[in-house]
């Protein structure tokens, strides 16, 4: 089974979020592999170990090369190769344009399954994967916490309100992976050494126009002020005061 895994490089969680004149300052961002995408890589490698085949990692990013080291860690987990599509003016908040570029690249690979993380921890749209599936004309199942493969049939459990929906489909399909799906392995030193020799291709792709909405203004949410600390003679007294405030002041219970 040949599998493509879509990887988004996202600003790491320590990145400082500054807004100047209504625009988010992204000059000093350091990038990392989107955490949800790691579950997709681990799942792909597990399928490869069971079924054979090849795992290709596909990422779309700017011409900035600072991401290569972190991406290579995904090869150490067991993926076979990386193709990074380098696009001038790439932006992470254009799912429609990015899905078009990614789906065109997937068409050139011969894959049975496309895996990705459920969402990027930058813009939280959960959009690109689903859009890629539509553009490839294949079904998608999103927010999957458990995935099984048995001779051409995928069985996925996806999180829904209050439970899990079990969905089956034949390949090819696109699955977006939720956090509970697996435990991402720690690569052994030998795998880390080997990963340095695996193919890492940079491919220039054209920028494209799209109907993605453009952010006209970014802002930081109003800071929440610390509220009132409730004092009391004992626990009973504090609880009583809290409940009174929730009822009378906040009117939420």
């Amino acid at each position: 089974m040949n599998i493509a895994v879509l990887i988004k490089m996202v600003p790491d969680t320590e990145s400082k979020l500054e807004v100047n004149d209504g625009a988010l300052n992204d000059q000093n961002f350091k990038y990392m592999v989107n955490p949800y995408d790691e579950f997709a890589v681990e799942q792909a490698v597990q399928f490869k170990e069971a079924e054979g085949g090849k795992v290709t990692l596909l990422s779309l990013f700017s011409e900035n090369n600072s991401i290569d080291t972190d991406l290579r860690k995904m090869l150490a987990i067991g993926a076979d190769e990386i193709v990074v599509l380098r696009q001038e003016g790439y932006r992470g908040d254009k799912p429609l344009a990015n899905a078009k570029t990614l789906s065109d690249a997937i068409k050139e690979l011969d894959v049975d399954l496309v895996l990705c993380g459920i969402q990027g921890i930058d813009y939280y749209q959960s959009a690109t994967g689903t859009m890629v599936a539509q553009m490839l004309g294949i079904p998608n199942i999103s927010g999957v916490t458990n995935l099984e493969y048995n001779s051409g049939t995928l069985k996925a459990k996806r999180q829904i309100e209050g439970g899990l929906q079990t969905v089956e489909t034949s390949t090819p399909a696109l699955i977006s992976c939720q956090k509970d799906m697996n435990k991402v392995r720690f690569p052994a030193l030998k795998d880390i050494m080997m990963s340095k020799r695996k193919p890492f291709e940079n491919k220039k792709v054209d920028s494209i126009d799209s109907n993605d909405p453009i952010t006209s203004e970014s802002s930081l949410p109003p800071a929440r002020d610390g509220g009132e600390m409730i004092d009391g003679e004992n626990a009973e007294d504090k609880v009583k005061k809290l409940i009174e405030k929730l009822k009378m002041e906040a009117k939420v219970i």
């Binding site: 939280y124 999103s142 439970g163 970014s218």
Partner: protein, 304 residues
Amino acid sequence: MSNVLVIGETDGSEIKGISQQVASVAAGMGEVTGLVIGSGISEAGMKLSVAKIIMADDTSLENYDPVKYASIASHIVKEHNIETILLGATSMGKDLGPRLAAELNCGYLGDCLEAGSEGFVRPNFAGKVLAKSNPTGTIVATIRNNAYPAGEAWSGSVENYSGEIAESTLKTTDIENVGSGTVELTEAAIVVSGGRGLENAENYDSMIRPLAESMGAAAGASRAIVDAGWVPHSHQVGQTGKTVAPELYLAIGISGAIQHLGGMSGSKCIAAINKDPDAPIFKVADYGIVGDLFEILPILKSKF
């Protein structure tokens, strides 16, 4: 003013609260058509608070299927010259929304906090940055739960969908209720969340769950205790979990890491109980109690 489509969701014989919220947002944006897709949905679908409702009611539509549902919605969008398509930011909406946008080759805005003729506001970086946009062409948007009050249930005119339904290889074989009887986290008016201060999984089960149940609340959790395996990921609130915005968020034994705050700081009221007076959770809480949760929780529980 434009033509607006609201895609509603049912829950048994009721229309979901989030769908009524979306309907009330839509009412301010133009002429609204409702679409409800499912099987045996006529009673529930009628309650969607819009003047005109289209029902796609078919046994093959019983469970959500992105391929079939998107084909129906895109058919209606084209037929009725619709420019704005609104859905709730649910497990269905967040999947159907982008698939539909791709099918229509139009923009998509997910999990919006504000939506209206003046523009849309959505959270980036787990709510740490708010992004505003004023899309000009056709747009699909999902609206976060509790961002708007719900519209009243009432019956508009009903017509049945008679267009094509795409073939799909997807087949739902099971719907499993996890922790039945409890309220869904993202839909709850009250969320009671527990963290590492509870010391172990047994205390979560014996203290947080019963308190949540007697308050009619959903039970949430911090990332620390999900990673420790005390509760499944479906309970996690925060950056890599769910974003909630209930009327009341009760944080118990949660220190309040920035990733957690991102998932709950939109709550109307936050109350925190923690033994550490310097815990960051107190910086966002409207009400705080410094104290031993093992002493406080049984007293709190006895009040509900």
